[in-house]
């Protein structure tokens, strides 16, 4: 099977890689590019631990073929902090203890950022439904939802 040559952008950097046609984006991120921040919880699109954005759209990277990255802009958890500055969501998750084991955290952060990018003023219900594709078995979601709501409020405050 001939390898496919893919040119894409990941976290702002131009990246090229070779992949087999059936390989998923998650496999390439983790096993070839060393970006292990995206996690595999299920491999079937049910847990959200592998969440990334593709041209700003939230995607389960376990359901995306690596070849589909060609010509697109991908963002992963590794690209969320700016230099030595954590993103406000990252900061708030730590401050509010919105993680226990932390395996779901990269996925929740990527998904939450995608939400706030399109809806800076979500209701609790909107946050809960937006994040319904991300499983967390440790926290009962309470502190995650609070963190996202607080960051949304803080960001609106700063934007004023």
């Amino acid at each position: 099977m001939a390898k496919l040559h893919i040119s894409t952008t990941i976290n702002g950097e131009p990246i090229e890689f070779l992949c087999d046609p059936p390989q998923t984006m998650l496999e390439v991120l983790r096993d070839q590019l060393g970006l292990t921040g995206s996690k595999e919880g299920c491999g079937s699109g049910d847990c959200g631990a592998c969440s990334i954005t593709v041209d700003g759209r939230l995607v389960c990277s376990c359901l995306m073929l690596a070849a589909e990255a060609e010509g697109h802009r991908l963002e992963t958890i590794e690209g969320m902090a700016r230099g030595d500055q954590l993103h406000p969501l990252q900061k708030k998750f730590v401050e509010l203890a919105a993680l226990q084991c932390g395996i779901c955290t990269p996925g929740f952060l990527v998904a939450s950022k995608a939400l706030l990018d399109r809806n800076p003023n979500p209701t609790e219900t909107e946050v809960r439904y937006w994040l319904a594709g991300n499983l967390c078995r440790c926290t009962g979601y309470d502190k995650i939802i609070r963190a996202v709501m607080e960051v949304a409020a803080d960001m609106r405050e700063t934007a004023r």
Binding site: C42, C47, A97, G102, I103, D142, K143
Partner: protein
């Protein structure tokens, strides 16, 4: 709130591993790789019960890229001895059969062979080339069926333990146990009202989001390194040593960050197999389970049946209580039947108790611990029956529990007499909560239930080191599964009188710190916390000695206060206090490095009690339950880092809600699991839930310097009955089988109101 004034304990600083975990930098089980590593994969039985006639691995071995294939032949036979793992006991003879089937495959998903190959694709292809000849046997899944005389027998050698005379015939009932207090027959004679009901539950999975993963490297000189996602790297070392006849000190296990465990990562599945494959190939071998494998072959918690009989007087005082519990152990003996029995009536001060338990094998994966193992199942029965009693007596359910609550001095049915406990305080906190005092919204109903867990102490080691600049490293040996690094650092900072930020907690591998029992049983903040406190005390003793040497006085003439050595009184002499940094800077001249150590077997884990309140609505057409409000009150001893204590309560509650409403293992007629994925095994998601309110009732544990009690397990015990009790009050239908899923609930409602259903 706690009356003692602490500087750090009870505060909510950022966890030390926070930045790593929000940036993707933290390395979990599957994130470890080594140059030249092979990928290992497991071939699993497609049958629920079958004799393995032969295994032909030749075609697989011939495939280019395949470096080794192992079967049970590659693992030495083990003696019939029981060893402790986490909160459960396991038999080595069974463990080696669970990691690799020998004579028989005992459940669908049971490992029968494993390969190591250069790529995952080749490893998968190799699995398809292994020829296994099976003789399929009749199987049994259900616990009650497995107990019947004519049930297919899993183990020909198994005789029921705990019955006299010793049985001659093989049985699936591995054990019968009982604990008795007083005289139940006499007790029931005094009863003015008797409630008697039977309840059942299905197995549920711990549901950690991170699948099992390991990387093993066996070198030519016999030394073995393992990286593994586990709740107990010392247990991984112990099992690999026993199962593969390797000297314990030749094995070094480094725990990765762990993506949830809840008890399910206290046992081994992959590690011994990866080590064996690595030994055979001379290469590192990485193995990661798929989600489907996690469901089919790891965990789960047992399902079971609970028959409850409670006798009370009209004033609500319980005079006798009886319960019979049968739990599925899975394919090998060893369900948490002990804790299920012991916890059943532990919340209550009852003179006459009889509890009988059965440990039953059937053709399912061997169960593993899951948060308060066994306790939610017996509480589901007992707390539901108490709710019926409260309804029949017309009593407030919290008042009924207050009337019978266990207190200091109450003797349990399983032996111990309680020291200071906080059940009464917790009931009162729930009763006085804003939630309980608020009126129930129209269309909603309220449910209440309680729960108990012992909490665990056991073996811990810790060390504390002062660095050259006076900052401190605290070293312990328990994987941090939910923020325990922060709690340990807080206790060390408090004890030492320095800033939390100056203390760096580290989790050491098995070769870098003394033995530690698993992260489980809600023991880490309590027992390992005590080891850390003692290691810091040991270090302070050393620091005082160094100050004494500097001043030329007796060590007894030095006290340690607020992070400084000071003269004990003016008679000692006029000396300026010496800070940690000053003592560290002069350490070379006063005796070298300054360290502290502690090792202990910790007793006196303070038991915990929870009382939960829910408001929910039932959609009569669809059977869908909507939870509007949920409050969990618990006696937590001292909340060292309250955010993580709240988090334990919230997480436990939601797992309990999943257990109550949706989660179950579904088997087809061939004994195969039909729902081995998150789509069909439905765990709660954010949109299913409201915020989970918590009330931390701080009743200090007298056996701990900071009053710590374990907190992680109790919160999963009450929710099953809390939800069931509210549903019963909403609909008039008492559900007795879990989960109370929409199809089951709507069917039960239709059956109860046939006229309405027919309309």
């Amino acid at each position: 709130m706690s009356s003692q004034p602490y500087k750090w304990i009870g505060t909510r600083p950022n966890r030390p591993d926070g930045a790593d975990k929000v940036t993707g930098r933290a390395r979990f089980g599957a994130d470890f790789n080594m140059p030249g590593q092979l990928i290992g994969k497991v071939l699993r039985s497609p049958h629920a019960h079958a004799v393995i006639r032969s295994i032909d691995t030749s075609a697989a071995e011939a495939l280019p890229g395949v470096k080794a294939v192992v079967t049970a032949k590659d693992f030495p036979e083990q003696p019939n001895v029981i060893v402790p793992t986490g909160e459960m006991q396991v038999n080595l003879r069974d463990v080696t059969r669970n990691i690799m089937a020998r004579e028989k495959a005992l459940y669908e998903g049971h490992a029968v062979a494993a390969v190591a190959a250069t790529t995952e694709a080749i490893a998968r292809e190799a699995l398809s080339l292994i020829r296994v000849e099976y003789e399929v046997l009749p199987h049994v899944i259900d616990v009650e069926e497995a107990m019947r005389d004519d049930a297919p027998v899993l183990h020909d050698h198994l005789r029921t333990e705990g019955v006299k005379p010793e049985p001659q015939k093989a049985s699936n009932i591995a054990k019968r146990m009982e604990n008795i207090k007083g005289d139940v027959a006499a007790g029931f004679k005094q009863a003015e009202i008797v409630i008697e009901r039977s309840f059942t539950t299905q197995p549920v999975h711990q549901g950690y989001i991170e699948p099992h993963a390991t990387l093993a490297s066996a070198a030519e000189d016999g030394q073995v390194q393992i990286w593994s996602t586990t709740q107990g790297h010392f247990q991984v070392r112990g099992f690999c040593s026993r199962l593969l006849n390797i000297e314990t000190s030749q094995i070094r296990v480094t725990p990765s960050e762990i993506g949830g465990g809840f008890g399910g990562k206290t046992v081994v599945y992959l590690e011994p197999v990866a080590v064996r494959l690595s030994q055979k190939t001379g290469k590192p071998v990485k193995m990661v389970m798929s989600r489907e494998e996690v469901f089919r072959a790891s965990g789960p918690a047992p399902g079971g049946s609970v028959k409850v009989k409670i006798g009370a007087r009209r004033d609500g005082r319980i005079v006798a209580a009886e319960c019979t519990i049968a739990l599925q152990a899975g394919a090998f003996p060893g369900s948490p039947i002990g804790p299920a029995c012991w916890t059943s009536f532990a919340c209550y001060d009852i003179d006459n108790i009889q509890v009988i338990g059965y440990d039953v094998v059937s053709n399912r994966p061997k169960v593993a611990a899951y948060r308060a193992p066994g306790a939610p199942i017996s509480a589901w029965g007992v707390e539901s029956a108490l709710d019926i009693l409260a309804q029949e007596l017309g009593m407030d359910p919290i008042d009924l529990r207050l009337k019978n609550a266990a207190k200091k001095g109450t003797k349990t049915s399983y032996g111990p007499t309680f020291d200071t406990i906080g059940f009464v305080e917790t009931l009162e906190a729930a009763k006085n909560s804003a939630h309980y005092k608020s009126p129930v919204k129209p269309g909603y109903t309220r449910g209440v239930a309680a729960g108990f867990w012992f909490n665990v102490g056991a073996d811990s080691s810790a060390a504390a080191h002062v660095a050259e600049d006076g900052t401190v490293t605290v070293i312990s040996g328990n994987p941090d599964i939910g923020g325990s690094r922060a709690s340990l650092a807080l206790m060390a900072a408090e004890e030492l009188g320095v800033d939390y930020e100056k203390v760096r907690p580290v989790i050491a591998d098995t070769s870098s710190i003394g033995f530690n029992f698993v992260t489980g049983g809600s023991r880490v903040t309590f027992a390992t916390g005590l080891a850390v406190v003692n290691a810091v005390k040991d270090m302070i003793r050393e620091l005082k000695g160094r100050a004494a040497k500097t001043w030329g006085v007796d060590p007894e003439a030095v006290v340690w206060e607020n992070g400084m050595a000071r003269p004990a009184g003016s008679n000692v002499g006029e000396f300026d206090p010496l800070s940690l940094a000053q003592l560290a800077a002069s350490a070379g001249k006063t005796g070298g490095p300054i360290n502290g150590h502690a090792q202990l077997n910790v007793q006196g884990a303070g038991p915990g009690f929870g009382v939960h309140v829910v408001d929910l609505a039932v959609d009569r057409d669809t059977g869908i339950v909507t939870i509007d409000r949920y409050t969990a009150a618990q006696d937590v001893g001292t909340a060292i880092h309250p955010s993580y204590v709240e988090g334990q309560l919230q997480g436990g509650v939601v797992q309990g809600i999943g257990w109550a409403l949706n989660e179950e293992y579904i088997y087809n007629s061939k004994g195969k699991l039909d729902n081995p994925g998150f789509l069909d095994y439905r765990m709660p998601v954010a949109s299913d839930l409201p915020m989970i309110e918590t009330i931390l009732v701080e009743v200090a544990n007298p056996s701990h310097p900071y009053g710590v009690r374990g907190v992680g397990e109790v919160p999963i015990v009450p929710p099953l009955a809390t939800v069931g009790n509210a549903i019963a009050r909403a609909t008039g239908v008492r559900m007795t089988d879990l989960p109370m899923s929409p199809p089951k609930l709507s069917a039960a409602l239709d059956a109860a109101t046939p006229r309405m259903a027919a309309e």
